[in-house]
């Protein structure tokens, strides 16, 4: 029997039909939707006069556009209010479960899916959002799609997709203290560039990956798109199964142990071949920070900004333009650079372990006066857990206000915008020009690095807080 990769096993078992010299018709097990990329898709269904084919396999949330304070009040911004309202109406009309603002299950789509047991090994999962790759942490083929494809899946529960190539990224060795999964993925992207994996689907493997918790794995898979990959997955194992056993319920599954037995085959066979393989030594990874305007422009926290994007050639105009936007220069060190804002949250680092990590550093200390902090839990469940574990109290005592769940400052569709020219250390996933607000200067980092910056008011090495 041919040795197959996990990706091929899942892909091949979901093909409804193959078009000669064309894409595959792929069946989708789970379709997540939110308010920003769905309205035009529903308009399309109305124009065609057809229903949603499988509403029970669709789950909706409001996350991108919503405020993170005073959620009990009506949304002030008219367009946002209208968009969320539209999703609510569409879900009611088409029979789709909707976790709107104030619903106890509400939150960022890629946080609530896994925590509520909707994301399961072996599934194909799509959503009109590029960070859908997050769900790959459970051993799924999960990827972001455009609104036309959202309409396709609503109409037929299928999508037309060309099959990407496969790359395996292996991380072995031992992680240093103070180095997190966020640093791992930022390191990889800085090594291969923001377009280094375009056209590929990633499988992450190796001892460093195996030892990560589910939430840490989600951070890694989340940022697969930032190296251009379609998505990334990690084969399920006991860590995955234990996480699933702890879910309050799992839709569609009565006996989890029976499913666990079936999932045992969800791994790449020995000898299975990938189109490309890369290896990294986890021991070399330090806390990371970005200095430019794409996630590939990152370096170790104690490093110096390079002279150019390639070791052997002069800096391109794009590279220099990027540094100019950031108000930084080649050769500069970032340690000690003053910052203005700190944001912890997003589908990358908005889960309970991230807030625990941040709390470890701020406990018994105070937020720097010069820093404005945005503390945004990824979901209502995370918000509740923060309170019940006493974390909210720790944040409050250190001078931090915990907000309510939403995508918030990651893409700043709501009021949580970073002002022109201000530096923000953010645990989110993109540092593009203007991403967090026109003229905003984003420095991507892990929750530990963000906490260190929040306490000191300058870019700091979080390792100094560990003995």
């Amino acid at each position: 029997m041919e040795a197959k990769t996990l990706f091929d096993k899942i892909w091949d078992s979901h093909i409804v039909s193959s078009i000669e010299k064309g894409p595959d018709v792929l069946y989708i097990d789970r379709h997540f939707i939110h308010e920003v990329t769905s309205p035009q898709a529903f308009n399309g269904l109305k124009q065609r006069g057809i229903p949603v084919f499988r509403p029970q396999k669709t789950l909706a949330t409001a996350d991108h556009n919503i405020p993170t304070k005073d959620q009990h009040l009506q949304i002030r911004d008219m367009l946002s209010r209208n968009q969320v309202q539209r999703l609510s109406e569409n879900c009611r009309e088409y029979g789709i479960e909707f976790f709107g603002i104030n619903h106890p299950n509400n939150g960022i789509v890629h946080v609530i899916g896994p925590e509520l047991g909707y994301t399961l090994p072996g599934m194909t999962i799509v959503c009109g959002d590029s960070h859908t790759s997050t769900h790959g942490a459970f051993g799924t083929i999960a990827f972001g799609i455009g609104t036309s494809e959202v309409e396709m899946v609503l109409a037929t529960q299928c999508i037309l997709q060309p099959k990407p190539k496969k790359i395996r990224i292996t991380v072995e060795g031992k992680l240093q203290n103070g180095v997190t999964s966020k640093d791992i993925i930022m390191y990889i992207i800085s090594e291969i560039s923001a377009s280094g994996a375009t056209g590929y689907f990633v499988e992450y493997s190796g001892s460093v990956i195996r030892e990560l918790s589910m939430e840490a794995r989600m951070t890694i898979c989340n940022m697969s798109i930032e190296m251009g990959a379609r998505g990334g997955l990690i084969a399920p194992d006991d860590i995955t199964y234990n996480y699933l056993r702890q879910r309050p319920s799992i839709p569609g599954i009565d006996d989890i142990e029976l499913s666990v037995k079936q999932w045992k085959n969800l791994k790449s066979d020995p000898g299975a071949s990938f189109d490309r393989e890369l290896e990294f030594d986890g021991g070399l990874i330090k806390p990371m920070i970005t200095y430019g305007t794409n996630p590939g422009m990152g370096m170790a926290i104690d490093g110096s900004i390079p002279q150019s994007e390639n070791k052997n050639s002069e800096a391109s105009s794009s590279f220099l333009k990027s540094l100019d936007y950031m108000g930084l220069k080649p050769g500069m060190k970032l340690l000690g650079h003053p910052i203005d804002y700190v944001f912890i949250g997003s589908c990358t680092n908005g889960r309970i372990e991230d807030f625990r990590a941040f709390a470890k550093i701020i406990k018994g200390r105070k937020k720097a006066d010069t820093v404005t902090a945005l503390i945004v839990p990824g979901s209502k469940k995370v918000e509740e857990q923060m309170a019940s574990e006493g974390l909210t109290e720790i944040y409050k005592n250190a001078g931090f206000e915990v907000r309510q769940p939403g995508c918030s400052s990651c893409l700043a569709m709501n009021e949580d915008k970073i002002p022109q020219g201000k530096y923000a250390v953010a645990t989110s996933n993109r540092n593009f020009e203007g991403r967090q607000g026109p003229g905003a200067r984003t420095l991507l980092a892990s929750p530990l690095t963000a906490a260190a910056a929040a306490i000191t008011g300058i870019i700091s090495d979080p390792r100094q807080f560990f003995n």
């Binding site: 968009q83 923001a194 026109p438």
Partner: protein, 200 residues
């Protein structure tokens, strides 16, 4: 539902000699609150077209009357970042019908093909030559023939074959709709569900 057809396009070009142009630049997130597909062209490259005070940035190419055309020529890794299809709608609504680069991000390319905006991949070398040519002579015209898969620069005679998925090519040439195609496969889909679906 019939869609836009693409056959032969002869046009002047608009040069965007920047690499890694991401979808946040093409259409900033604050403009994604719309509930229909229309009007995105107004906000194409919004934060590059307009200064903070709301005035047009005279240095940005879209505000330079010398450059008009239906073909956008951009530096490598165009369209990286978000899956927002709104980026394609903005480019199309503005009036472009093709984007030429040496490298496109995956999701953007898919979204473009689904909306009648043709993404054309040419070599880095030809891209540089073309950008230089256009900037020297804004009247530079190209011909794109989808049937023959040729991209030709009229004044120099440079002509290359570009790649495109055969299925997508046929959809674009005939104005075929993916969803009509999938809807016609309903029996196959329910058959699949009965046999193999995970959650019954």
């Amino acid at each position: 539902m019939p869609k836009v057809k693409f056959e032969i396009l002869k046009s002047t070009c608009v040069p965007l000699p920047f690499e890694n142009v991401d979808t946040d630049q093409i259409i900033p997130a604050r403009f994604l609150s719309a509930t229909s597909r229309e009007g995105f062209g107004d906000n194409l490259f919004r934060d590059w077209r307009y200064n903070k005070n709301g005035e047009k940035n005279s240095e940005f190419v879209l505000n330079n009357p010398a450059y008009i055309g239906k073909v956008l020529v951009a530096g490598k890794n165009f369209g990286s970042g978000s899956s927002r299809e709104h980026a394609v709608w903005a480019i199309f609504d503005y009036g472009f019908r093709a984007v030429v680069s040496s490298f496109f991000a995956d999701i953007f390319m898919n979204n473009a093909l689904n909306n009648g905006l043709l993404p054309i991949v040419i070599s880095e070398k030809l891209l540089k030559k073309l950008l230089d040519l256009i900037q020297q002579n804004p009247a530079t015209e190209v011909i794109i023939d989808l049937e023959k898969q040729t991209f030709t620069v009229i004044s120099t005679g440079d002509s290359v074959i570009f790649g495109i998925n055969p299925y997508k090519k046929e959809c674009l040439l005939k104005g075929l709709d993916d969803i009509d195609f999938l809807l016609s496969m309903k029996d196959l889909i329910t058959g699949y569900e009965t046999n193999k679906s995970m959650l019954k």
